[in-house]
């Protein structure tokens, strides 16, 4: 067939988003298409930019804590943990053991909630309508625990610098235990719906392959990196908040495709339950708030603290000039960094794969744009 038929006369430029439902918010992807094949992409971000980092420079350290919940709003507790750990490192304080254990329980619950929301919406993008209702049913139980604990369901503001504002409520341990018992069979149920589903497998297997080397080049972290085969988890690599006391496995994939990322996240939910059970069984008694002055004036200096958020490495870089307000707040959001690999992953694929790959990256645009 000759090169110059009228069919390949020009490449088609297609705008996907910012209102496309499968872009999980307001991501705009400019696709360059040759028929159904993707030749290249360009991401346009910033539709949800709120200037969170600048807000941080105009608030005291305590006042900025509610704002970090609004970056990755499906994993607000993890954001709060990262920020609190960063400020605690800046002022050389540490949360009491009980506070650390409660923090671990709530962050792992939040990891489950985040992965459930990812699983539901990802399956919805692929075309499986049922899992989203199942996932939201269990997510509701997690959100009930959050609501009982701190009074908010989504933007929780659960942690304070130096520990916790609230002691656990009556029946906290029972509710968490009941959830962990209830949850594991439900994970099997999701797997029953999806793992061997022929449409699911054929839509995901071999799609959006990212090798370990490519992940390292792009700085991709979290389940995407682990699915490529590298067991890199900051909870194990640089333990924080007492994660070294808990036994858990780091699930890894082999091929680094979308299906492996699905399996890794499913397994991570099971490991989170394992951590929660250990933490609840060994919940120490004692105070939940360390000695931190109300008017917080950290010494001059800078810190970088990163934690393993549900989506990857979430880092906070704080610069203090010795005043009440930080001189600079910089956030390393996992979603933004992982999104950079989108072009590499979709190139050569089909348009329908773009939807699957955006879903599997598990981005939250509130965090990408901040």
């Amino acid at each position: 067939m000759p090169e110059s038929t009228f069919l390949d006369s020009s490449e088609l430029v297609l705008n996907m988003g910012p209102q496309h439902p499968s872009t999980h918010g307001v991501l705009r992807v400019i696709l360059k298409l040759d028929g159904e094949k993707v030749m290249g992409t360009e991401c346009v971000i910033g539709y949800l930019h709120r200037g969170v980092e600048k807000i941080g420079e105009n608030r005291t350290y305590q006042q900025f804590a509610p704002y970090v919940d609004r970056m990755d709003y499906v994993a607000a507790v993890s954001n709060g943990l990262g920020y609190c750990l960063a400020v605690e490192k800046l002022i050389s304080a540490e949360a009491p053991p009980r506070a650390q254990a409660v923090r671990v329980i709530l962050t792992e619950l939040n990891r489950i909630a985040s992965h459930l929301l990812w699983l539901g919406t990802h399956a919805l993008d692929i075309g499986a309508i049922t899992p989203v209702f199942y996932c939201f049913r269990e997510r509701e139980e997690v959100l009930k625990i959050f609501e009982n604990y701190c009074g908010a369901r989504l933007t929780t503001h659960a942690f304070r610098i130096g520990g916790l504002q609230y002691e656990t409520y009556d029946g906290f341990e029972e509710q968490v235990k009941a959830f962990s018992n209830l949850f594991l069979p439900k994970v099997d149920e999701y797997e029953e719906l999806l793992t061997n589903n022929r449409i699911w497998v054929s839509r995901l297997k071999g799609v959006g392959i990212l090798s370990v080397e490519e992940c390292k080049e792009y700085g991709v972290t979290g389940p995407v990196l682990r699915a490529a085969g590298l067991a890199w988890d900051l909870r194990r690599a640089q333990p924080y908040s007492g994660y070294d006391q808990y036994e858990f496995d780091i699930p890894t994939g082999t091929s680094g495709d979308t299906y492996d990322r699905y399996l890794v996240r499913i397994e991570e939910m099971r490991q989170s339950v394992r951590i929660i059970r250990q933490a609840v069984d060994r919940l120490p008694s004692g105070p939940v708030m360390g000695k931190v002055p109300k008017a917080l004036k950290p010494p001059v200096g800078e810190v970088y603290v990163s934690i393993e958020a549900p989506k990857g490495e979430l880092g906070y870089f704080l610069v203090s000039d010795g005043s009440l307000q930080p001189y600079r707040v910089r956030v390393r959001p996992p979603s933004l960094v992982n999104l950079q690999a989108l072009d590499r992953m979709v190139r050569g694929g089909l348009v329908a794969d773009v939807v699957a790959i955006i879903g599997t990256l598990d981005i939250v645009l509130g965090e990408v744009d901040r």
């Binding site: 006042q63 609501e147 009074g151 409520y169």
Partner: protein
């Protein structure tokens, strides 16, 4: 052969539907019929703010220390006070709380040394105007009066 039989007898479909129908049991129904059925929010729920009054004499508990206004990240609280010449103490005159900017973080509640300001379990905060979301002292003490559409 096995694959052929699976596709003839729609095994995959029936497997999926079995999970679906298993969950038709009424005890798994999660939907709340909102206006008719009032949701039970948690005890610690952070909703509408309230300025507590002393139930014995009806005086406000607020000592006009201004700590809530300083703690608020959005600067939405304005505390007005004047010095009482006879008792030589600050007394609360006005208290303005701009709910339209509030994100219910609970920092004002934490800062209050006398438990006067409190975020309550009221969650129906809609108003027809933007000005309606700015609550004065009277509104904060008596609480909102949303229209009850169901008994």
């Amino acid at each position: 052969m096995g694959k052929f039989l699976r596709s003839i007898f729609l095994v995959d479909l029936l497997q999926g539907l079995w999970v679906t129908f298993r969950n038709q049991n009424p005890k798994y129904i999660y939907t709340e019929q909102y206006p008719a059925e009032r949701p039970q929010v948690a005890e610690r729920y952070r909703g509408a703010p309230r300025l507590n009054i002393n139930p014995e004499n009806g005086e406000t508990l607020c000592i006009a220390c201004n700590l809530c206004a300083l703690a608020c990240p959005e600067n939405l609280i304005v505390v007005g006070s004047e010095r009482n010449e006879t008792t030589r103490r600050k007394e609360l005159t006005t208290f303005t709380y701009d709910l339209s900017r509030c994100m219910f973080c609970g920092l004002c509640e934490d800062a209050c040394p006398v438990d006067a300001l409190e975020l309550t379990q009221d969650f129906e905060l809609a108003s027809y105007t933007r000005e309606g979301a700015i609550w004065d002292r009277q509104m904060l003490e008596e609480g909102p009066r949303p229209t009850q559409y169901a008994s």
